[in-house]
């Protein structure tokens, strides 16, 4: 019964989201929604290795690889971004294969450190390999509106695409978490040795988790880059925007859960924009001070993230049917 009510509420909420571009013509409102959806997708993708306890600060690597691949194919060779999405996803996954070597061999902070180094190296390659990437000048996506070019005169198509991506990645994350891969990752996160002794190939589980995560991040990046018309090494491989931000969203919302990244992205994206606008103009970097304080507060007082505050209330509502629910 309660479950049905919840489903109805979710359906109404989704229909409401579909109607947003019809009622809000303000580009700012639409942009903010679109950005939130992109960050929900990026954070949910970042979060998949976190099911297994692996904390990456190098997801900008996959973002940059995916974005650059599609942009180069389109601008230099005239290949449609719809093929670019496939190529971008694939190249980002190749990046994932490379990062899987430290992932499997290194424990705790050492994987995190090597993920930072990985993204930084790729950023420098993008700066120096001018023939391919135009170096620091970057690549501009020419404004030729058409579905095939993934270029539009209004913000609505990207609004819907970003919404679709967010729903897709949440759905995949939920599916992965409740599949055998999800259980294996969660077991490895809790106790790697016990998981291995119970017959789980934990190296394989971590590897598969990273493949999903890197591929999805590369795919989201392609849409994000075409939404922004421009990419250069400093933004495409940006530590702030695509490594730290998803991680922040994840920690604050609740790392390793399905809904944590969603909550984190919904709170942090508008807040981040607001802080950058108001505090960043007073004194550069002041916005990061607030970020830092929030992070310390959450890690100290709510280590499970905001989702851990909401969950008990949610579980109580659902206790009517006691089928082992998890999120």
């Amino acid at each position: 019964m309660r479950n049905n009510k919840l489903k109805t509420a979710a359906t109404i909420f989704l229909l409401g989201l579909l109607a947003v571009p019809l009622y809000f013509t303000s580009t700012f409102v639409l942009h903010m929604f679109t950005l939130v959806f992109f960050y929900i997708a990026l954070t949910a993708a970042w979060n998949i290795p976190a099911f297994g306890g692996k904390f990456s600060l190098g997801h900008a690597a996959f973002f940059g690889l995916g974005g650059y691949t599609a942009a180069i194919l389109y601008v230099k060779l005239g290949i449609s971004p719809f093929i670019g999405v496939v190529a971008g996803t694939f190249v980002a996954m190749v990046g994932g294969v490379i990062l899987s070597f430290p992932l499997i061999r290194l424990k705790g902070p050492f994987f995190t450190l090597s993920s930072i180094a990985f993204a930084e190296v790729l950023r420098m390659v993008a700066v120096d390999w001018r023939a391919l990437t135009n170096g620091s000048v970057g690549i501009n996506i020419p404004f030729k509106p058409s579905w095939l070019n993934l270029t539009f005169t209004s913000g609505a198509p990207f609004y819907y695409m970003a919404l679709g991506l967010a729903l897709l990645v949440i759905g995949l994350a939920w599916w992965i978490r409740s599949s055998s891969l999800g259980y294996h990752l969660r077991a490895a996160a809790a106790d790697e040795d016990a998981a291995r002794a119970l017959g789980i190939n934990t190296a394989k589980a971590h590897f598969l988790g990273l493949m999903w995560s890197s591929g999805l991040t590369g795919m989201i990046a392609v849409f994000y880059v075409f939404y922004n018309y421009v990419l250069e090494p400093g933004t495409a491989f940006s530590m702030d925007l695509f490594s730290l931000q998803p991680a922040m969203n994840g920690i604050i919302g609740g790392m390793g859960t399905v809904w944590g990244p969603v909550i984190g992205a919904i709170i942090m994206t508008p807040l981040g924009e607001f802080l950058r606008f108001y505090l960043g103009t007073i004194q550069q970097g002041l916005n990061f001070v607030v970020y830092g304080l929030m992070l310390i507060a959450v890690v100290n007082f709510v280590p499970g993230g905001i989702v851990s505050l909401i969950e008990p209330w949610f579980k109580k509502k659902k206790s009517g049917d006691s089928s082992a629910a998890d999120n």
Binding site: Y183, R186, L198, D326
Partner: protein, 241 residues
């Protein structure tokens, strides 16, 4: 005799220390074999070597004639080596889900895994706790989760690392029959235990380790009257050891 596990000259060095040194023994199919020894004797290291969490420096481990010595832990598990850990650290999920984790190696869907996990929970009498989080259970119950999880891998040989330690006498009396019951369902058992009464009551044979070496092997009566064993435990100088 039909040997399930054959260990030959197994040696593991940590730097200059031989944690396990040239240990040879066999586990007979269907028996309950106890493993005792003073603290630091190398019992848990031996378990880590058999389950594959550590790789030996020398020697061999054969299960039903197949060489396990160099195989990774998850393959040994698939071949029939199951184990529990001395320090119980259940995964941070419900009791049922804890048992489902290893089952996913055999069943692909959640539904099948859930049914199978429930059967195992009934066997260890935790079926009423299925939806609880392990943190809300008693130590004795958490130790039974460990056993249930290990049973879920369908082991031929089950290594139990102090599943009775830390329990009060009533709980020991409750958990002890479980070990017999598991054996009677066709699983051979090798177990480490410090509770001598319990150990002597249910094991058919006992291995004794001291300072990395195997110093005695026999029935409980033989072992307890062995001079070397008495020396290892009481520290007296005995001739011929």
């Amino acid at each position: 005799m039909d040997d399930l596990l054959v260990v030959r000259d197994l040696t593991k060095n940590f730097g200059g220390l031989a944690a396990v040194s040239e240990v040879s023994f066999e586990v007979r199919r269907g028996e309950i074999l106890g493993l005792i020894g003073p603290n630091g004797a190398g019992k848990t290291t031996l378990f880590n070597l058999i389950s594959g969490l550590l790789v030996s420096n020398r020697g061999s481990i054969m299960l039903e004639g197949e060489d396990l010595t160099k195989k990774p832990p998850y393959k040994r598990s698939a071949m029939g080596v199951g184990r529990t850990f001395q320090v119980v650290r259940p995964f941070d999920m419900t009791v049922l889900e804890n048992v489902m984790v290893p089952i996913f190696a055999h069943y692909k869907t959640s539904k099948e895994a859930k049914e199978k996990a429930f059967e195992i929970l009934e066997m260890v009498k935790l079926d009423k706790m299925a939806d609880k989080m392990p943190a809300n259970l008693t130590l004795a119950q958490r130790k039974r989760i460990e056993v249930a999880r290990a049973l879920a891998t369908k082991p031929k040989l089950l290594l139990l690392d102090e599943v009775l330690a830390g329990l009060n006498p009533t709980e020991v009396a409750e958990n002890l029959p479980l070990i017999r019951q598991v054996r009677d369902s066709g699983v051979t058992i090798l177990f480490i235990e410090h509770l001598m009464d319990a150990m002597m009551a249910i094991s058919e044979r006992v291995l004794v380790m001291d300072q990395g070496a195997l110093i005695a092997c026999g029935t409980p009566d033989e072992v307890t009257s062995d001079q070397c064993v008495i020396t290892a435990y009481l520290g007296e100088e005995a001739p011929g050891c």
